[in-house]
Amino acid sequence: MLISGGKDSALALHHALVNGHNVKYLVSMVPQRDDSWMFHHLNIHLTDLFAESTSIPIVKQETAGVREEELLDLKTALSTLRIEGVVSGAVASTYQKHRIEKICEELGLKSITPLWNRNPLTLLKELLTLKFKAVITGVFAQGFSRSWLGREITSKVVKDLLDLKRRFQISLIGEGGEYETLVLDAPFFEKKIDIVESERFWKGEYGYLLVKKARLNEKADPSASADIHGAS
């Protein structure tokens, strides 16, 4: 299972588990550049907590983040594992899907994309009904502003995203890199992630929320939650 810590890969993982797939590893690519063509980079360090809270072992692979080389790095990572298939969270980006399919083909693996071609709005609603807790950690498109950083995906946020889609034709689920999320809680999490310290960076047209410190807490424990809006 390829994960970034974001909502799409988390939702894909959820479907994979529900469909009875035996998810053996979480694979996380760690790009060294900020403009990777394939992989998320923000707060990628938090995939450790993600893995810990799901009790699935994580395999991390560094990648230079340079176009086609990224794929070689991914292939290297996958080729060392004893698996039958690869689950990914691709929804509409044929670019991403084709690349992964190609590698799978070369390695004799099955490519599983539970979210492929599904309606983005339905996917967002599904996140809400399944009580995923995902916060926006980066915005990279026209129409977004600083105040988006740190917002939890709620029905209000979905409405605001719909508005931006109408005005600027962004992808509703951010598949064009318009925004990135970090999943703090999911149905399959044994513990939830709490952000202890974070900092917002705003660069004029884009910005991101860097999580500096986070930890796992019992799901029922309300005392440990920190106000992420307060930090900047």
């Binding site: 403009d35 509409a92 670019y95 990279f140 498109a141 962004i170 992808s171 598949e175 318009e178 004029g204």
Partner: protein, 737 residues
């Protein structure tokens, strides 16, 4: 009203006889007597009692016009005239002379084929005479000349016959000079006016007499005799011997073209479609049986009837229920009603034929300049050339309702007003939530506010700011080649800006270069203007503030797919410059190279637009950006003893005198004056000349503001808009590797 009905039903019968139709306008400098003269023309038609003609100014039917004594809108009326046993239909448009309303003249010119240019014999050819004549010539509207207010030469200036001759000759010479300078190649000789040929009339609109040389000969009247009659206070009888309407209408019928003659040369000028096509031939020949081709030149919102769109039908005909298509709005409609304007009244008629002016109801998206075609001819219909204005809205005021809850109402009437008056620009200042109204001058805005109140039913209280000048941001040297990334960092663009050359800017202002010409024709025009082929052929966009986007890339993958998004980003950047949020003007923006993410999902508008804007602004800031200020052309007519005062006043206000010419007892001074220095000019001029100066200003051009001025403008504007005091650095918009 019954008289109007009678005339309209007669007019409709005449519409078939194209050679007996004249579509004309009355154009002039302010106050030279257009509306007064038109009064006389109405008397012959029985539309106005002779006893009040000359004073009624019937076509100034708006309350505001009667109160101020000036025309502020165009008014249409149709008249019948008999000449040598034949009946003629004359569709006439009276136009305003005040420079703030020049745009209305510009639009009216598209609808007519000929114009009577009125010149006040005392003031002679003035700034606005030149402006409207130049525009008429540019639209291939043929002018004839009426020299008005001759009574004043006799009674006020007390000139003798010889002196009057000299003055009249000078007016004719000056007028012919305009034709020589501004006339198109084919017309500059042919259209010169000459009293001997009957293309000049002389008279007094106030006293309702006038003549051409021909008429004077026939009736055996000499100038010296007229002078004598005035001296003996016996001029009253002149109106019967030399009725003004006869002189004017004879001149119109004999020397202004009918639609058959005019459309033959006007259509190729105003319509660049294929002349040999069905529509082309129909319009060229004024064919009532062909497809309908019409240009909308005026739109008004009637509180009851909705939008009324008036314009000239070049081919076919329009009747109620017809299916028509608006090329610009891309929308098909059924015409609800067809009407003719008779002054203040709109008279419904069954059908109007090619070669005439019609008012149509039911086309709510029609705007001035729009091309209307019958629905079955809409495929491939090329729109008419765009109407280009000589003036730009350079003065702005902020408006807000006194009671905040009336904001929606204010917005509503502002919208109505901006539909009716395309030269009035309404906009919302996003930062401050201010509603802005930009216009040609102080009068334009004053009237606009009056209309806003009136449209709202009189009880909308509006607070206005003091007038502000509109500025532009531009550059004088090329900027750096800049790389800008999309927010998601996946796409990169290399962009460079440089100043657009004056020649190209002039082509745009003259309408010789317009986006609707299409890439090919723009390319040809630019190549002729000396552009390198590679640049000329690859114009992506021509923005309203005279900015051009050129694609200079070679074989960039997927570029075609992001083209429109890039253009949108380019336009966005040009709207709000980085110096103080004023529009950018006169920039050539070159897209040199690009690298794009191959997945369309990653290169949507939200990625490409900001990148285009960043690159443009980055390169612009790295050049040497400047503030441009609007400059008025000023014309002052003043008794010679005050010339010194006027000259020093203008120079003191950072103005420049370009010419000063003695014309009889008056001296006419022309020069330039920054718009920002023109506020309060009335008071200063009055005190400098004890109220003896007549003067007028008209927007002329943009000029680089002196450093001290531009510093102040930037600081003030940024503060007003709630922006941080410092201009952003170029580096803010430039990405590394």
């Amino acid at each position: 009203m019954s008289k109007l009905k009678k005339i309209t039903s007669r007019a409709i019968k005449l519409m078939d006889v194209k050679k007996n139709i004249r579509d004309i306008g009355i154009i002039a400098h302010i106050d030279h007597g257009k509306t007064t003269m038109t009064d006389s023309l109405l008397t012959e038609a029985g539309l106005l009692s002779p006893t009040i003609a000359g004073r009624a100014r019937v076509l100034d039917y708006l309350e505001e016009e009667q109160k101020r004594g000036i025309t502020i809108k165009t008014a249409n009326i149709s008249l019948l005239h008999e000449e040598e046993g034949e009946e003629y239909l004359i569709n006439l448009i009276d136009t305003p002379g005040h420079v703030d309303f020049t745009g209305k003249v510009t639009r009216a010119l598209r609808a007519i084929d000929g114009a009577v240019v009125v010149v006040d014999a005392v003031e002679e050819v003035m700034v606005q005479t030149e402006t409207v004549t130049r525009q008429a010539l540019n639209e291939l509207v043929k002018p004839v000349l009426f020299i008005n207010k001759v009574d004043r030469l006799i009674k006020e200036l007390k000139l003798n016959a010889e002196e009057i001759q000299v003055k009249l000759a000078r007016i004719i010479r000056d007028f012919n000079n305009l034709i020589a300078v501004y006339g198109e190649e084919d017309q500059k000789e042919k259209w010169k006016v000459d009293p001997a040929e009957g293309t000049v009339a002389f008279g007094s609109a106030l006293h309702r007499w006038g003549f051409t040389v021909d008429i004077a000969k026939k009736k055996n009247v000499k100038f010296s005799e007229i002078i004598d009659l005035y001296k003996k206070e016996q001029a009253d009888g002149l109106v019967d011997r030399l009725p003004l309407h006869e002189a004017i209408l004879t001149m119109v019928v004999k020397h202004l073209p009918n639609p058959l003659e005019a459309q033959r040369y006007r259509i190729p000028k105003v319509w660049k479609g294929e002349i040999d096509s069905g529509m082309g031939q129909a319009m060229l020949k004024v064919d009532p049986e062909g497809g309908t081709g019409m240009v909308i030149t005026l739109t008004q919102m009637d509180p009851h009837a909705g939008l009324v769109a008036t314009g000239r039908i070049f081919s076919g005909s329009v009747k109620g229920g017809d299916r028509v298509y608006l090329v610009g709005a891309k929308k098909e409609y059924r015409v609800q009603q067809v009407a003719m304007y008779m002054g203040a009244f709109r008279v419904p008629v069954e059908k109007i034929d090619a070669g005439n002016i019609a008012a149509l109801l039911g086309l709510d998206l029609a705007r001035a300049g729009e091309t209307l075609v019958s629905a079955d001819h809409k495929d491939g219909m090329v729109p008419f050339e765009s109407i280009t204005y000589v003036s730009e809205p350079v003065i702005t005021i902020a408006v807000e309702p006194k009671r905040p809850k009336e904001l929606p109402r204010l917005i509503d009437v502002m919208e109505r007003l901006s539909i009716e008056d395309p030269n009035l620009v309404t906009s919302i200042n996003k930062e401050t939530g201010e509603y802005l109204l930009s216009g040609m001058g102080e009068l334009h805005l004053e009237i606009a506010i009056k209309f806003l109140r009136e449209y709202a039913g009189g009880n909308l209280e509006i607070i206005t700011s003091k007038p502000l000048v509109v500025y532009r941001e531009s550059t004088q040297s090329p900027g750096a080649v800049v790389m800008a990334k999309s927010p998601n960092k996946h796409s990169k663009f290399w962009i460079q800006v440089e100043p657009l050359d004056d020649k190209t800017i002039q082509m745009i202002e003259k309408g010789d270069l317009a986006e609707q010409m299409g890439r090919k024709r723009m390319g040809t025009a630019l190549k002729e203007a000396g552009w390198p082929t590679k640049e000329a052929r690859n114009i992506w966009s021509l923005e309203e503030h005279r900015n051009i986007l050129v694609d200079m890339t070679k074989g960039v993958q997927y570029l075609r797919e992001v083209r429109d998004m890039f253009i949108a980003g380019f336009r966005w950047a040009c709207q709000n410059g980085p110096l103080c949020d004023e529009p950018i003007r006169g920039l050539k923006v070159k897209l040199l190279d690009a690298s794009l993410h191959e997945d369309p999902v990653h290169r949507g508008p939200a990625q490409v637009m900001p990148a285009a804007r960043r690159g443009l602004l980055g390169s612009f800031l790295s050049s040497d950006p400047v503030i441009l200020e609007p400059i008025y052309k000023i014309g002052v007519s003043v008794a010679s003893q005050w010339v010194g005062e006027v000259t020093s006043l203008i120079t003191r206000k950072r103005g420049k005198i370009t010419a000063s010419e003695q014309k009889g007892p008056l001296t006419s001074i022309t020069g330039f004056l920054p718009v920002s220095e023109s506020f309060g000019l009335s008071a200063d001029m009055r005190s400098a000349t004890s109220g003896h100066a007549f003067w007028q200003t008209a927007f002329d051009h943009w000029d680089k503001a002196p450093a001290s001025v531009s510093k102040e403008v930037i600081a003030e504007t940024r503060e007003r808009r709630g922006m941080s005091p410092e201009i952003p650095r170029a580096s803010k918009f430039i990405d590394q590797t």
